[in-house]
Amino acid sequence: MRRVPWLDVDRARLSRRTFLRGAGVAVALPFLEAMWPRAAQAQAAASAKRFLAWYVPNGIHMADWTPAAIGANYTLPAILAPLAAVRDDVLVLTGLQNAAARVVTMGGAHARGTGTFLTARPVNPSGGTELENGISIDQRIAQVIGAATSLPSMQLGTEGGSSTGSCDSTSCAYSRNISWAGPQSPLAKETNPVSAFQRLFQGAGSLLPPAELERRRLLRLSILDTVTDDANRLVLELGSSDRQKVDEYLTGVRALELRIQDISTSQCEASEPGAPADFVAQLRAMVDLMVVAFQCDRTRVISFMALNAGSNRTYPWLGILDGHHQISHHEDNTANFAMLRTIDTWEVEQFAYLLQRLAAIQEPGGSLLDSSLVYFSSEIEDGNGHRHTNLPILLAGRGGGAVQSGRHLRFTGLPPVANLFLTVLRAFGINDATFGQHGTAPLTL
């Protein structure tokens, strides 16, 4: 049984303690289905495509990442070895650059690489005090396919962010968010798997009688109407930057309104995660959550920050007691290389677990992985040089047949990653002519 988050988040927290022992037991949950016509729903189930972006910090030790051979018959280097079971479902792409991060506008290489990670647009180009970025690829995709699901997209991570200071000499917004709805709208991420689960399956498992649930549902809609009127009146009195903030608020109101209006139900097997004991468990719970979100068709677009930009986390369970960021300034030292290889391999292991789980879930047209495109990369290539060229990139899944997988492709002339994003957009039927600052032509894969 689960608590419904909107009824009482505090009691929900209290209940979680009580229910901890029961956590992990799979239960069939009725949940609210997205609001779209039944015919479209049936069609969507057959042709649904998913996008997931996975971010890791501090770059990758490329010597142990880059396959020597090009094409299908390459040997997996040490860091990519965990992908063995799914290598036919993965493209290894080398030689691409994040051109937008190389335009030095503000902040350090981590902040720029992260701010531009999915937007491919230089951040804060005018150097003003307002945030400045562009729409991220996941949000562009969500604009088109997001209406089909209860949550148009979901942003997940493992850390909210350090508690003080600036992040790489600029606003922390660029280091903690990779999904941007618009130039000034970073989309905050959920870092608690229990809260994220409850949000994903809101309304499910309530202890309240149906009539009371329905009364509350209608009340919530009335309240949203009231505050929408408040906001609309307020907007009339505000200047443009203040209005931008209220517009963000109204976007949130409308998104929630759509979710509450939806009264259709369906069944899906989902088990609520327990409160994770440590980072490893937290990350694993987040991966499980992503899988269930796709499997239950709660959302089709997810971005995930395995950690925030420039993370200085230690990895004691891997025997690494120095901070990752610190080690990533490796000074070409072999001992540092060994530690980076260990961390990077662990990161790929986590990613491989996601791919294996997606590959194991069959839908009518193939596996969940077949219907998805899953992008993996980092904010920089190499931690010592802080380069944004030759990024470590994996593109997993087939996007419903749009991508021929299982190869290593090496690009010359440093094409911008924005061109790869155009290719990804094509897989979702989005024929934008450009993306970001430098994306002008889809990359042929």
Partner: protein, 864 residues
């Protein structure tokens, strides 16, 4: 003396930026590291040939090649006929080249370097423009930052302000106005506000488009720019504190909100605090939950008893008034709970004994076991009542009783007989918080009427929730909502609750709304008293105004300077000021980051949560003492007192005070500890997991104490120090690092402060050796001021004139919730002067900020 000035550092950065090609549209080195290194060296040499006496000279390679560049002009004297005072001056001026864009300074203090960029004569006065290094640029926009001096060449006293306006508004905007005070003949005065001229990057700056005037009797309004704070939402801390004060809750719902993003070092910055859909969902949920909990009425404890015969059975059969569970299975009953609380589940039962053990049963609520299995030794002659207690939420629950150890070896047959299952509770009813009791005391719907009572309670609640009196129309809307809810069949309290929930979901609650006097006009205006009360309250309490502030705001008397000063005094002494310590000091000094650091447990076995908390307490209590006494705040840097508990005293190698809670202790003259630089908190959060980081420690002090901003290293030149197997002390490794010119430019500033703190290890314990070598804690600033050890270093920082100015800058940024810009320089100088005028107490500084124009006023914003 003050070589630690922003300008000098900026120049150094020009050199390094040019050296590394780190500038506009110059991209980073590619993967080919060798070519990057080569070009770095070559460009460094190139840059060094241009002595950066003027920032203008410090163009980058990209700009030199760019078609945008104009001939560099270190000094462009403009010959111009004497003009009558206050008349615009429009003589032709040569365009000057764009300035290299590298650093971003916030409210950098104007300073004069090299030769003036150009000079104008207005009447008897000569105005000199000095470009200071402030190019904050991007693709579309470009800014020149000028500082102006006015020389009085006339016969009488010149007093007034210099104003610059543009005759080419399309390309030149943001021209400002600066007072220069009283200037006797022959003397030169600073017009102490930088002039920021922003324009399209593609257009060379053309001074001929500027018009100059000197206003001998300036209208203060002409020079007034209090700045503008972007509409601020409550951050997580503020949300939790606000609902605590409004509803009396002890919950922290915002813990589940997404993390707040930071800008300018703080989580109070309006422009950076985005309002994501996720946040709205959380806030909507929190509002319902909070109001439901606040208004909840706990029924008196009572019993719901259900006979076993009428339960749902998995096995067994009726046996008189009992149900006989004759194999391992159970029965279940449904109960409904109206209030979330602990309840006791009682089961009356007996067994028929057989085998070695008594019968056992397990009670469950839903799928969860309530307590352990229970032995049922009672027999039919004297059935027992067995119970277990658990927390149950509102709603319908299924209670199971299960027989778990069936025994049958004929004829011996152990069975469990159940009489009834009873739920008793709630056991722990929570009384309504005082805020809700006060709301209920306002009126009685049965006596005063439903609608009048709804109005009265909502008027009172919304007044506090929205930090201003609501309009009649706003209350009408909420009353309508409540009455519609009541029509759905809920009681008065629940209908009131729906309107209260709406009030807490409204933008008027979630944002701190400040209205412009004329919508979408840039007019400068004073805040309303209610808006001012909110600014004051969120500044010092991170929460909503209390009854006293509300009353002053309602009376319209809060904005009297003496009243503001009295309120500041009252507020810093209030326990709620702890929020200011946690939020401002926690971010300024980094104590909040104690939760983020991971000192290595092998190297630092002493590190644990108790030590972490003791460190946090120490810094916060010392800061709080400075906040609540009138002590000279610069004493913070060498204070010979602190707050220690036994744990931290042991860690520091000091005598234990005999207390597990922190107590104030006096530190010995010439001892190992004095002032903030020797606090374990600051030392730990600015270290690496396994070693100290003089660079992080130095960067923190430069950023936060001296306001010298060091930009991140250009691409390709970062890294160092942690090469495994590297020999030598950290000091030696840093020295080798600084031997590289591209590193020295910044690290000559970054390293000395940290090196002075090398006697303190990565968790702040005192040490005399590093890598087997004695610690050398001496150092020198680039201007030659040298020191040996933390105390001497701290004394230099304390004496540096940048320090009080910087403290004021950080505090003003926090208080306003926006980054400072050139327009704030005058205000900041005035605040700093007021801070230093008397005893230099933190309260004086806070008062000066609260009384300043940027705090009390705002500029409007033209709409579109």
């Amino acid at each position: 003396m003050l070589s630690l000035s922003r300008v000098v550092v900026a120049l150094a950065l020009v050199a390094i930026a040019a050296a590394c090609g780190d500038s506009y549209e110059v991209t980073e080195p590619t993967s080919d590291a060798s070519s990057a290194t080569a070009s770095t060296g070559a460009m460094r040499a190139d840059a060094s040939t241009r002595a950066p006496t003027s920032p203008i000279a410090a163009k980058t390679e990209a700009e030199a090649e760019s078609a945008l560049a104009q001939p560099s002009s270190a000094e462009t004297q403009i010959a111009s006929a004497p003009q009558p005072l206050a008349a615009p001056e429009t003589a032709a001026a040569a365009p000057i080249a764009p300035i290299a864009d590298t650093t971003i300074h916030h409210a950098a203090r104007p300073a004069v370097v090299g030769s003036p960029t150009f000079t104008r004569t207005v009447g008897a006065a000569t105005i000199r423009f000095w470009s200071i290094f402030e190019g904050r640029t991007g693709r579309e926009r470009f800014e020149y930052h000028f500082h102006v001096t006015v020389q009085n060449g006339g016969g009488g006293l010149l007093r007034g302000a210099v104003m610059v306006t543009s005759s080419a508004a399309a390309s030149h905007v943001a021209i400002s106005c600066a007072p220069f005070g009283s200037t006797p003949p022959g003397l030169t005065r600073d017009a102490d506000a930088p002039f920021v001229i922003a324009q399209d990057r593609a257009t060379p700056f053309d001074a001929s488009k500027l018009a100059f005037s000197i206003d001998a009797t300036p209208d203060p309004a002409l020079c007034q720019d209090p700045g503008r704070v972007t509409l601020r939402r409550l951050n997580r801390t503020e949300y939790d504190n606000t609902v605590r004060d409004l509803l009396g809750t002890s919950e922290h719902p915002a813990l589940d909100f997404p993390a707040d993003d930071f800008g300018y070092g703080f989580d109070t910055i309006g422009s950076v605090l985005a309002f994501s859909p996720l946040l709205f969902e959380k806030a909507e949920a929190a509002a319902q939950s909070l109001v439901e909990a606040a208004l909840r009425v706990y029924p008196p404890a009572s019993a719901q008893r259900q006979q076993a015969e009428t339960a749902t059975h998995e096995c067994g059969g009726a046996s008189g008034n009992y149900w006989n569970l004759w194999s391992e299975c159970g029965l279940s009953v449904q109960v409904t709970v109206a209030a979330p609380a602990s309840y006791t589940i009682r089961v009356r039962a007996y067994q028929t004994a057989a085998g070695p053990d008594p019968a056992r049963m397990q009670i469950r609520a839903g799928a969860l076991a309530v307590g352990a299995e229970i032995d049922v030794p009672a027999v039919s002659a004297a059935p027992g009542i067995y119970s277990a207690t658990t927390f149950l939420d509102v709603g319908t629950h299924t209670l199971h009783v299960e027989f778990t150890n069936d025994y049958y070896v004929a004829p011996a047959d152990r069975n469990l007989y159940i009489d009834y299952v009873e739920l008793y509770g709630p056991l722990d009813a929570v009384p309504p918080p005082p805020q809700i009791a006060a709301l209920r005391a306002l009126c009685n719907p049965a006596v005063d009427g439903t609608r009048p009572c709804l109005r009265e309670r909502l008027q009172s609640f919304v007044r506090r929730a929205w930090r201003r009196p609501p309009t009649t129309a706003e209350i009408d809307t909420l009353v309508t909502l409540a009455e519609a809810t009541a029509a759905g069949g809920v009681d008065f309290e629940a209908s009131l609750g729906s309107a209260m929930t709406a009030a807490l979901t409204s933008p008027h609650f979630l944002f701190r709304v400040e209205r412009d006097t004329h919508a979408r006009s840039a007019e400068v205006h004073a805040l309303s008293n209610h808006e001012l009360a909110a600014r004051l309250s969120y500044f010092l309490w991170s929460s909503t105004p209390d009854a006293t502030l509300d009353a002053l705001a309602d009376a319209g008397t809060l904005d009297v300077p003496a009243t503001l000063a009295a309120q500041v005094h009252r507020m810093v002494l209030d326990p709620k000021a702890r929020a200011f310590v946690d939020s401002f000091a926690g971010q300024w000094l980094g104590t909040r980051s104690l939760d983020d650091v991971n000192p290595d447990s092998v190297d630092f076995p002493a590190w644990d949560d108790d030590l972490k908390q003791a460190m946090r307490d120490e810094t916060h209590l010392v800061f709080q003492e400075f906040l609540q006494t009138q002590a000279d705040f610069l004493g913070f840097f060498d204070a010979r007192f602190t707050y220690l508990n036994n744990r931290l005293a042991t860690h520091y190698g000091l005598p234990t005070p005999g207390s597990t809670t922190p107590v104030r202790v006096t530190l010995a003259q010439g001892g190992q500890r004095a002032g903030i630089f020797t606090h374990g908190s600051v030392l730990t959060v600015n270290s690496q997991p396994r070693r100290t980081s003089p660079v992080k420690r130095g960067k923190w002090a430069l950023d936060e104490i001296l306001c010298i901003e060091i930009q991140p290293p250009p691409p390709g030149v970062e890294g160092m120090l942690d090469t495994p197997g590297a020999t030598g002390t950290l000091r030696e490794r840093l020295a080798a690092h600084r031997a590289k010119p591209e590193c020295a430019a910044c690290h000559d500033y970054l390293d000395p402060i940290g090196l002075g703190l090398e006697n303190y290890d990565a968790i702040g314990a005192y040490r005399t050796q590093d890598a087997g070598q004695p610690i050398d804690a001496s150092g020198a600033f680039p201007d030659g001021r040298s020191f040996d050890g933390a105390a001497e270093m701290a004394a230099l920082v304390k004496a540096d004139p940048s320090t009080p100015h910087c403290v004021a800058e950080r505090l003003l940024t926090y208080a306003l919730g926006r980054g400072l810009d050139a327009g704030d320089a005058t205000h900041l100088d005035a605040i700093t002067a007021a801070f230093q005028a008397n005893g230099r107490s933190l309260e004086d500084l806070i008062t000066a900020i609260v009384q300043s124009e940027p705090f009390r006023m705002r500029r409007g914003e033209p709409g579109q």
